[in-house]
């Protein structure tokens, strides 16, 4: 086996040094009745070329976005990833390092994560960011638990325009400690109904949770929502599934958010059939000791040289055990590094331009689709790079028809919202060309 260097002779020498007759003797502490007395039922080893062939044959049976004209978004976005991202994260120094417990020989990871924390703060308009979480949905759940710890309250008010899977995961987490969820309808503009929010917030509300832009692509007006939450003594949690939007939209921090969480996958890390992704969580300085996950801080060494360490560890499970802010430890450092490289490569200008392209292309497609016979735009409010189309025929039938043209026409919303069973959610990123948008319109019968 090419990954195992020791030869039979090496083994012999080592066994002799130990004074053990055989490797089997080293397992003498495993009771005989518990020993597996047959080989594992796993196929025999493949050579490297065979592994590549097998994996390629599996990969070839997926409809990837290079071969299909896909309008899927809904929490996982097809954005261009500059070549340098893959090249830099394949450096063994980054790829094959553990969590930076020994700072003297982990300054690369630590400085990169310090830069990541800074970038997340800049993007979200917040003061403190942790060093990454698993992905958007569980980060939202952790943010809700954090709001519960801070306020001591037990209810969560959450908009139904928050990603259905994020709400599902948040419920799974929150059910363990008995938090009660109150869901708020969306209005005809496709955003969270402010009056309903005000009616529902109460003295037991720990936080209000809204998504920005929301699951339908709608741009929520966060200021009155945050004000309403604060008036009830609750925190405002804003989750962001499409971070590219923050290149153009006012930051949640500026709008009064107390916690900003969500998914960083859109920042050049690829789709990967849904993961690994990148959870992020940012907040105000006053709440820093409630933050789950790792934090990197700046300090100096014995000789006064600046450097970085993991810090505020007394929040964490390896010190506090059952009293920790969370059980999270290993998260998504390498994906955070990808997002870091993406953000610094784009810079202020690139981030704005890519967000603008998303907005413009989606607006173009939305305008055209609104004129296709049997199609209509479902909501009246402003949207970023996603929008909901109401269709006259069954959405499943339309998706099937589009597939004949190698077009994946979005998400059938009936899957998540019975009241939107006649709707599709479409996403148009900067990766879509006008030609591809035209092909979609054409396949649907063209503009009337």
């Amino acid at each position: 086996m090419r990954y195992i260097p020791n030869t039979e002779q090496d083994r012999r020498q080592m066994l002799d040094a130990i004074g053990a007759g055989s490797v089997d003797n080293l397992f003498a502490d495993v009771p005989d009745a518990l020993r597996l007395k047959r080989p594992l039922k796993i196929p025999p080893a493949l050579a490297e070329a065979e592994v590549v062939k097998r994996l390629r044959s599996l990969a070839d049976r997926n409809a990837d976005a290079d071969r299909y004209n896909s309008f899927l978004g809904a929490g996982c976005y097809d954005h261009f990833s500059p070549a340098i991202i893959a090249h830099l994260v394949l450096r063994g120094e980054f790829l094959t390092a553990y969590t930076p417990y020994q700072p003297e020989i982990s300054q690369g990871t630590l400085q990169a994560l310090f830069e990541y924390q800074t970038l997340v703060c800049q993007l979200t308009g917040m003061e403190v960011s942790n060093a990454s979480m698993y992905e958007g949905a569980s980060s939202t759940a952790e943010a809700i638990l954090m709001a519960h710890r801070i306020t001591g309250r037990t209810e969560v008010v959450v908009g139904r325009a928050v990603h259905p899977e994020y709400r599902q995961v948040a419920r799974t987490y929150a059910a363990q400690v008995g938090l009660v969820f109150r869901e708020i309808a969306f209005n005809e503009a496709g955003v969270t109904d402010l009056d309903a929010v005000k009616r529902t917030l109460g003295p037991q509300t720990a936080c209000l949770v809204v998504q920005y832009p929301n699951f339908f692509g709608g741009v929520e007006d966060l200021v009155p929502l945050a004000e309403a939450a604060h008036a009830a003594g609750a925190l405002c949690v804003v989750c962001v599934a499409e971070p590219i939007a923050l290149g153009l939209l006012k930051s949640p921090g500026e709008c009064g958010a107390d916690l900003v969480t969500g998914e960083g996958q859109g920042l050049g890390t690829g789709m990967n059939y849904g993961g690994p992704a990148l959870g992020f969580l940012a907040t105000r300085e006053q709440y820093v000791r409630h933050v789950p996950g790792r934090l990197v801080g700046q300090t100096v060494d014995r000789d006064g040289r600046p450097g970085y360490v993991l810090t505020l560890a007394t929040r964490e499970q390896h010190i506090r055990r059952e009293k920790a802010t969370s059980n999270i430890c290993t998260a998504e450092s390498l994906i955070a590094l990808m997002a870091t490289i993406y953000l610094v490569s784009m810079g202020p200008q690139g981030l704005r331009e890519v967000a603008l392209q998303n907005l413009r292309k989606a607006a173009f497609a939305k305008g055209r689709l609104g004129k296709v016979s049997g199609c209509g735009i479902r909501f009246g409010g402003p949207t970023f790079n996603e929008f909901v189309v109401r269709v006259a025929k069954k959405p499943a039938a339309i998706l099937k028809q589009l597939l004949k043209h190698e077009i994946i026409g979005g998400v059938d919303l009936g899957r998540f919202y019975p009241e939107l069973a006649d709707c599709l959610l479409l996403c148009v990123t900067e990766q879509k060309t006008r030609e591809q948008i035209d092909a979609l319109i054409e396949a649907l019968g063209g503009v009337r």
């Binding site: 080893a45 063994g92 403190v128 849904g274």
Partner: protein
């Protein structure tokens, strides 16, 4: 010149590299975008202006060259498996095969969207379906959820399933038993699910005694969470008896599978009486650690817990693979979409590369390497539990402390010799613990170099302890002031005002 000059440690190149925020120049760019091929409407025409922001202040303006050089330079301040021996106990720092990186980046995987209709994602689903079967076979359990994104996430998912199981029988119960040698994530995961943690003391042999479990066991105990092999690197030889005691009172047996690398193909948790286990793909199955993730912690369960698995599961129906969301007793979802799929691709490629015999050989070699190190360092360092070990061995600083040299000093001094230190001060039940896990991917020569360095440090601790106490001397920076970092937290760069 003392020891390190003769070994692999060097100072190499050590650039001074500022933060990216202190670099660049206004107007410099590191990106390119195709021209916009749709009408270039103003943002204000599409979104009300009070919802818009200007360019983000403080974002660096750098060229592609600047970015490549910056991250390449700071990468050189990192130690990784590719650079040398990384015997970090409980972390299984084995070689990360490069072919796995290549196959994970195939467009059919990397460019696949998670909401593809099942019919258009058959390759991804087949891979997950097969991987589930391989992990079930290795662990001796019936079903495996690939959802959890890390070991701790797997524990949490497991405890949620335990809770749902007991709830289905009428009451979630109140307590979870956890041996004192456990990873801190075990009590933290239990607490997240509202359970009270009851600590079980280890016996004099370093393993959990059935008697201690029997005394703590009652009908309010939901489960025991036990790590096997445990964090001392010892096989919990009474595991089957302990499982029987817990089962007799209706409890569940959760195994923290962080140390599965020691026993693959030799003995299986399912055959010990374990009901659930999380399997750390970033340890046993070679997913790179990436400086702290991504990992994955799939959870294996016995049949009676399968109804509670997170949704969706992957099922085979006639000749097609489907995602099954229709599982009424499921705990729900623990993450978005179906898995950290890229991690699954790497684990799958790894299992296929090793095959049944290779996996067993990996476990056997990991155990041989650990016992070899243990044997060769015995005497130079205090060995609190002098018996066969599995994948790792745990020493202490009891000898060196006589010269006021602590575990931390030994760890830092190892850096000068070109090695990553072992895990230190864990498990908590050994004062000044040094937890060494070599893995199977190290040669005898490497182990011998490490052993020589450790012996040399033991000599230094006796004869020139100040050299050890002042270590490390070779890395670009010396010991960091961690107290200052925690007292006056600086957690982000800010523009100079």
């Amino acid at each position: 010149m003392s020891g390190p000059e003769r070994t692999v440690g060097t100072q190499g190149l050590a650039f001074n590299e500022p933060l990216i925020f202190d670099q660049g120049s206004p107007g410099r760019v590191g990106y390119s975008l195709p021209p916009c091929d749709v009408p270039e409407k103003k943002a204000e025409a599409l979104i009300p202006s009070h919802l818009l922001r200007g360019p983000i202040p403080g974002l660096p303006e750098v060229s592609e060259v600047d970015v490549v050089r910056h991250y390449t330079r700071i990468s050189q301040w990192n130690f990784g498996i590719d650079l040398g021996f990384y015997p970090l106990g409980s972390c299984t720092m084995k070689y990360n095969p490069r072919v796995n990186e290549d196959v994970a980046r195939l467009p059919g995987f990397a460019r696949a969207h998670p909401y593809l209709p099942d019919a258009l994602a058959q390759g991804a689903l087949e891979l997950m379906w097969e991987l589930e079967r391989y992990l079930a076979e290795i662990s001796g359990l019936d079903r495996v959820s690939l959802h959890p994104s890390a070991g701790a996430h797997g524990e949490l998912t497991g405890v949620m399933m335990i809770r749902a199981y007991h709830q289905s029988k009428g009451s979630p119960r109140r307590k979870i038993l956890i041996p004192e040698s456990a990873h801190g994530t075990n009590p933290a995961s239990s607490a997240l699910c509202g359970y009270q943690v009851v600590t079980i003391k280890s016996g004099p042999q370093g393993v959990v005694e059935p008697q201690a479990v029997a005394e703590a066991m009652d009908d309010q105990v939901a489960a025991i969470m036990i790590t096997n092999p445990n964090t001392l690197g010892l096989f919990e030889e009474h595991i089957a008896e302990i499982a029987a005691i817990v089962h007799a009172k209706g409890g569940q047996v959760y195994c923290d599978g962080a140390n599965l690398n020691a026993v693959m193909g030799v003995t299986r948790p399912g055959d010990w009486g374990v009901d659930l286990i999380q399997i750390n793909l970033h340890k046993t199955f070679s997913q790179p650690h990436g400086g702290g993730g991504p990992g994955a912690g799939p959870v294996g369960v016995r049949k009676h817990l399968a109804p509670f698995l997170p949704v969706p599961t992957v099922e085979k129906r006639s000749d097609a693979f489907v995602l099954d969301f229709d599982r009424p007793q499921s705990i729900g979802k623990v993450r978005s979409f179906a898995a950290s799929f890229g991690v699954m691709v790497r684990a799958y490629a790894y299992i296929r590369s090793l095959g049944a015999a290779g996996l067993t050989q990996a476990a056997e070699t990991a155990v041989l390497n650990a016992n070899y190190i243990m044997h060769q360092l015995k005497g130079a360092y205090h060995l609190p539990y002098d018996r066969l070990c599995k994948h790792e061995c745990v020493f202490s600083d009891a000898i060196q402390i006589q010269n006021d040299v602590k575990t931390l000093d030994v760890a830092k001094r190892l850096m000068d010799y070109g090695f990553h230190p072992p895990t230190i001060y864990f498990p908590l039940i050994v004062s000044g613990a040094l937890m060494i896990e070599p893995t199977e991917t190290e040669s005898k020569e490497t182990l011998d170099q490490f052993i020589a360095a450790m012996r040399e440090i033991a000599r230094e601790a006796r004869e020139e302890p100040e050299v050890v106490r002042g270590a490390p001397h070779k890395p670009r920076v010396s010991r960091m002031d961690e107290t200052r970092a925690a007292r006056q937290p600086i957690l982000r760069w800010k523009p100079k005002s």
